[in-house]
Symmetry: C2
Subunit: 207 residues, 2 copies
């Protein structure tokens, strides 16, 4: 797949490196592709990754990963031409002090409103970037739920989550984005206020 990364921070950077190592073509969107940080990211990702302007990263891609801080999400998403793209929404509508989620409509549904012409799947929002780099605990994959309204786009999200080593689990329609955002808030709260740190995850276990 050709994957554009919008928001090449810890989450977007880790996802891009993982997708590139899985053999996908990754375009990291950047206002300045020459920074030392971006060059270090490209070195980690290997030869199937490139740094581009954000507009080019989106244009060259079939799948666009939105991994922006919430306060930047609306303006950046609305500034991009996302028609025909599969958009993976990895954001969380956190309050500025990370103490909770913004009330009202889920972030995933708002991103879908802002991403005109795109097909949005909510995924890669429920756990920390460290788990995206290594989702295995005790040799078993961590849980990665996803939701959306388009079966093909969801299959793309599931494949990419599986490529990283997660157990990808379909959680239904995009109207369930609020459930995934609650999972994210649980993880964030436990990591910080709960004192667990980043090295924990959730697994779905069966009898």
């Amino acid at each position: 797949m050709k994957i554009g990364i919008v928001g090449a921070g810890q989450v977007g950077g880790t996802l891009g490196v993982g997708f590139a190592k899985a053999g996908h073509h990754v375009f990291f969107g950047s206002r300045d592709p020459q920074t030392a940080e971006m060059q270090a990211l490209l070195a980690r990702a290997g030869s199937t990754a490139k740094a581009e302007s954000v507009a080019n990263a989106v244009q060259f891609a079939d799948v666009v990963v939105v991994a922006l801080p919430w306060p930047a999400t609306q303006s950046v998403v609305q500034s991009l031409d996302l028609h025909g793209k599969v958009v993976l929404d990895c954001t969380n509508p956190l309050l500025p002090d990370f103490s909770g989620l913004e009330p009202g409509t889920s972030g995933g549904e708002r991103v879908a409103d802002w991403a005109a012409g795109a097909t949005v799947v909510k995924v890669f929002n429920t756990t920390g970037f460290n788990n995206m780099a290594d989702p295995a605990y005790g040799g078993k994959p961590a849980f990665m739920p996803y939701c959306g309204d388009d079966a093909a786009a969801k299959q793309t999200a599931a494949q990419l989550a599986t490529d990283l080593g997660f157990e990808a689990v379909d959680l239904g329609s995009l109207s369930h984005a609020h459930l995934l955002e609650a999972w994210a808030m649980t993880w964030i709260w436990l990591a910080i206020q709960g004192g667990l740190g980043r090295d924990f995850a959730f697994q779905l276990v069966r009898r």
Copy 2:
């Protein structure tokens, strides 16, 4: 502990049996303690369990488990004298067709408003009654989050969850009840629409 069960259905019945087997005194509230169903429940629970009127079950108890169907919760809770009790809210504010959660204020916070004079902890709402009967998967405990605003009441909830075999995890204040209700909706959706059935759970795993 002396524990009253309000709503002796599958969840309340299973919890009461588990608490009785752990050595607690359990009072199952019932409109008709002589039914065959209640007698069967008492036989499962053993000699530390009794069936009482709902008002007596609450009066005799220090800890009151509210495990009612959501449509009955407000009227029953408001009809009881819960002053000074620790109330464990195991309900979920499901829409009548189980397709989602009621919007707005969390069920846990609404129960706290209705339970005048009580200290409310949200717990035992995030998984199925079958997991309450046997929370171990592969020899490891399933995750049981709880939240509330009173440290002593939360410790009671944590102890009871541990007694059943769960890993009890503090998820902060009662304002997080909406997170626990999202976990519940995730479990319910996966069990029914997601086709997983009841024999699955979530575990918190650490490196």
